[in-house]
């Protein structure tokens, strides 16, 4: 196991010896899941699905399962329990995100649950509590601007989608850095508790 260099914004991380060339390759593994969250009938809320569309069109994912859903649900704890690595892709309204941002998801019961909303952190924590395993989970947030009842992305969010796609081609060593130094190494990354 060779340590992977940390990016500028995050702390140290260690990965397996077979270092992937790109971020996408890191997730495009057996047991990989790329999960687009959103609704393409509500303009930029469709960003998560749009990235899945792009990956499908390009045919670049040979191993990872590609998946779309309107929102995260508690059952996703069951969906990810058998996975090795999960990349959630969702639109964000946050002005702190210029075009896209990739961050590791830490398991945390943040009590965000409603019939229409639950956080990725809570899904991960529930997975660990109920099924005894938590995969490595990341969130790719893509900046959106309009959420009206209409098909199609706004031009600005379409640009951000292209930026997000390009980001997935960045070198994994630069793009994937965990904030959690307790992260262990190996094919399966078990993560520390909240």
């Amino acid at each position: 196991m060779a340590p992977m260099a940390a990016s500028s914004m995050n702390a140290s991380v260690e990965v397996a010896a077979g270092v992937p060339a790109s971020i996408l390759e890191h997730f495009d593994v057996p047991g990989g899941l790329i999960y687009g969250i959103g609704n393409d009938g509500r303009q930029d809320d469709g960003l998560g699905w749009a990235l899945i569309d792009v990956l499908e069109r390009e045919g670049v994912c040979r191993h990872a399962q590609l998946f779309r859903n309107y929102q995260l649900q508690l059952e996703d704890a069951d969906l990810i329990r058998g996975m090795r690595r999960v990349l959630f892709v969702d639109a964000t309204k946050s002005p702190e995100v210029a075009d896209c941002a990739l961050h590791a998801v830490e398991p945390k019961l943040d009590f965000s649950f409603s019939s229409h909303e639950i956080s990725a952190a809570s899904i991960l924590a529930t997975c660990r509590l109920c099924f005894g395993h938590a995969p490595e989970v990341w969130m790719l947030a893509i900046r959106g601007y309009e959420w009206e009842l209409r098909m199609g992305l706004t031009p600005a969010s379409a640009r951000n989608l292209r930026a997000a796609r390009q980001h997935l081609d960045c070198a994994a060593q630069a793009g994937l850095a965990y904030p959690d130094p307790l992260l262990t190494t190996g094919d399966r990354h078990e993560r520390a508790g909240p």
Binding site: F111, S115, W147
Partner: protein, 489 residues
Amino acid sequence: MGRKLVIDPVTRIEGHGKVVVRLDDDGKVTDARLHVVEFRGFEKFVQGHPYWEAPMLLQRICGICFVSHHLCGAKVLDDMVGAGVRSGLQITPTAEKVRRLGHYAQMLQSHATAYFYLIVPEMVFGIDAPPEQRNILGLAEAEPELVRRVVMLRKWGQEGIKAVFGRRMHGISSVPGGVNKALEAADRDRLLNGGPDMLSVDQVIDYAQDGLRVFHEFHAKHRDEVDRFGDVPALNMSLVDDAGNVDYYHGRLRVVDGHKRVVTEFDYHDYLDHFSEAVEEWSYMKFPYLKALGREAGSVRVGPLGRLNVTKTLPTPLAQQELERFHDYTKGRANNMTLHTNWARAIEILHAAEVVRDLLQDPEAMQTDRLLVTPAKEAWTGEGVGVVEAPRGTLLHHYRADAQGNTTFANLIVATTQNNEVMNRTVRSVADEYLSGKTEITEGMMNAVEVGIRAYDPCLSCATHALGQMPLQVTLYGPDGSLVDERQR
């Protein structure tokens, strides 16, 4: 000085609403109302669209009970093309069984969400437990095995929906005159026998019985509180079959009183002859009532409690056994205890699981050559009404289309709207019990009001046919109108 208390939004319900409670100088509740402040839009939105698009568009009102909207709309389309109950040319038994299979799978999935995710945490931790504990994630921390079972139970329901409608959400299989696919053997076998990542139907039935045990344990510990909480009168309404027992997919509408005497029973196509809707300036949600009785006496309760008050039996053995216990508890009278809605809901989860099992074993649900009837063009009526018993209660769709087949009119009366009056009665009753005369209003007291609303599992976005975002809100006002306290989450 008197006070006004606002709970805004009311949490763990679907949609945006708020509760306003007014107190007098002595701190006694003088009024309490559930306000629904969402915009009503979908009925207009579908106008001008081809008639066959309506069930596809209208199911998108909701991410929870979309199957009910889809099936209700499909029944309307059957009427419109001349394949409805009044035309003499009805859909095939296969089509009806496939629709019922999807309907009961959704009943199980939706009730499991409401019951286990939104209500059971309060049974386990208490109404006044800290908010960060009394939710499904708090339950996951305290009872991970229970939550694991619940996750798998709901997943099984979703897989049943997917087997019928092709997708877990907003799928399509019902078309005018029937369905476009039968149940496939692989799906049937997976749902019946389970697998490494899937429960078997027998496990589902076991887990559904767990749900009943949770209610009974809670009830045994807090019997007086549960029975007294929101004990409010209302008529009870449900679709019934020819024997007068609940039929979740089709039948006539029956209304019974507190003694379970039949007040009225009619063909749902004639609903406009029987129901009228009152409007209040403080809420977008209307107040339906039976015209013959007027608003106060003619408001009905629908949903699990209403249905089990109407029906005499359930056609599956385990649910029937529990129904007898439920009926015995009130000694032949209708059950008006709001929190017993959760008992009724748990019975319906079990019943739905048993019905799905029976339908999965029915070879007629797999007959691929008997999916559709195709009426002659002359059979076109251009108008239809559909009613199903959705998880939350009686759901009605009514459309009209012009000669070109474009929708000119749509009317939806959803369960939450039917329950509007009885929900408001519950809010008043609970506010009076928990807030009246108290010198200090705690978060737990405020939550009691929300618990009363959540028992109905209201879907406010369905009720107002909302477009847009849907954040629910309790507010306390003094007699001079000054804001005293407010909760918003």
